[in-house]
Amino acid sequence: MSNLKKILKSREISSLAFVVFLFLGVGAVNPEFLSVKNIMLCLNGSVVFTMLAVGIAFVIITGEIDVSVGATLGLSAAVSATLIRDGASWVLAISAALAVGLVIGLINGLGVVVLKIPSIIMTLGVNGVVRGLCYVYTNGKWVENLPFEFKALSQATVGNMTWFYLCALVLTIVIYVLLTRTKRGRYFAAVGDNEGGATLIGIPVGTTRILGFVLCAVFSAVAGLMYVSRIGFVTPTAGNGYEMKAIAACVLGGVSLAGGIGSVIGAALGAIIMASIGRILVFLQFSSDLDNTITGILLITIVVVDALLQHRAVEKARRERLTAKTAGSVNTEGGGQHA
């Protein structure tokens, strides 16, 4: 099969096509939506979700799940914001946020890998604990009065794109290359696709999983920093429910919760969709209260259609194999394709 055909069949392309069609569709109704400025607003607005989705993709690709990213975002945002407000150096604030992420990620990873707690349960518990710590740390109050310079970071642009989004974009592409072109990067997908097989060929399954959780939490901490800079204040409930939106973004971007399928580029594309739904509704002159409804419908439709297509592809491949066998010529290429 030619490389071009392979690329065209990849899940990222179908996600990208979906984003393009979605934007064009909305543009057909309201041409203003397709102005460069507005598209850039959509992209820039998705930066927090992009970081969360890319982070969570590490975990999902290894076949686990992490529902603690929202609370991690909240706590790291609260910690860094209080430090910056009280005049500590930015380096300290940023490292504190990253440290928060690191610790939470390690706890998640060790709990899942060493204590063998199912990841949904482990991270659900950690989510509750960390959310509670957010309240304890902030004493239930808002963190406000951040210095202007820190807030200005999120406004700095190159062209129409904020530096934040540019960084996120570059980071996503770098990670994509690392995950698909390097040996260690391929471990993640290998662990998620077939744990037993990965163990047999000597891949450190546990370490890879822990690394996935740590990276996920660190990315959530980065998202927390960006959140602080963009929003300019932190409530104790900051990031509440973001974990579900980040997972939804991954699923929209073609990352399978079964593990092993999907990529961070897909996750980033999904994040754009998730972050733009509200804006799209406004441009279509619907109430943006319908945000969640549309997200739910979109999510269910996409996964169901995907599952049906996959089912058909598997059936078709099997039928091809059968006919090939009966015809007597062994076709080595037909089957085994994961859609």
Binding site: G128, V129, A248, T293, A307
Partner: protein, 337 residues
Amino acid sequence: MPNNWFKKKFLRWELFLVALLLLEVTVFGTLNPKFLKPRVLLGSINDFMSICVIALFVTFVLITGGMDIQAGSIVGLTSISIGLMWQDLGMNIWVAAVLSIIIGALCGALSGFFVAYTGVQPMVVTLGGSFLYSGLAIAVTNLSATESYKGISGFPSYFTSFSKYRLFGIPSQVIIFVVLIVISYLLLHKTKYGRSIFLCGVNQNAAEYSGIKTKLIIMSTYVLSGMSASIAGIILTSYLGTAKADFGKELTLPIITAVVLGGTSNLGGRGSVIGTALAALVIGIMRFGLSMAGLNTQYLDIPVGILLIAAVACRTAFGHYKFFSLFRNRLPKQKNK
């Protein structure tokens, strides 16, 4: 062997939960003697009734190997639909309540259908469901004349009083809970339907080949959990006297905690209604007791989260379900085969 029989009968996870429950009552009782008054202790259920009711039936879902994180959003949808049907459509409140149970069942059926018949992971479908139903709840609120943040209130007193009614000093919510425990216990542990739920969780293919309509069974568990969420929504609306779209938003953690703490495996095939009911009480009493002891309610997720992780860690470390095998392994002559 009588020794074995003793172990099988008593040294079980449920016993551990009962011990935990007694410990909690003693600790909170010494911290605050008021806590031990039957009126307070029995009345405390009003605070966590939703968790108890929903967890009972989410157990069914988890036993089939599924996952349900949408129940919380159905509570809000139910509540606001009752309010809307009563206020804006002028229905009788009881008719509205019955209709809202049907709505809950439909919500469950929709998600259950996709889980059972398309093979998408239950976690994804119910995630989509939680977005959809909480979104619908807000959309429904916008149809009504009142602002969404206020909620709909002013229900007739016969509706708001049924959840506060006391029969011989026993709050009606306790009675409802007991009735639901009995129903779900009989359904899960004493009927053919219950056995097929377990079999679906152990091995869906085997169940299918033995003539069980596994897809229908799996779908039905989601319908049941949707209906239980509606019942919780009705009770909550009645108790608080207000219908709001965001009721039940924070219930996912405690519900899943209750089910898993109760000894149900999230991989399916194992679990019990009694365990879930006890675990729901453990969590509820813990939340109630801690807040009575003066802890801010917003901190309550910390102990619940720790409890969840610790319980599951214990169970996986010491063999599922048999917490006491920890002690058994210490005894040299009782080697495991």
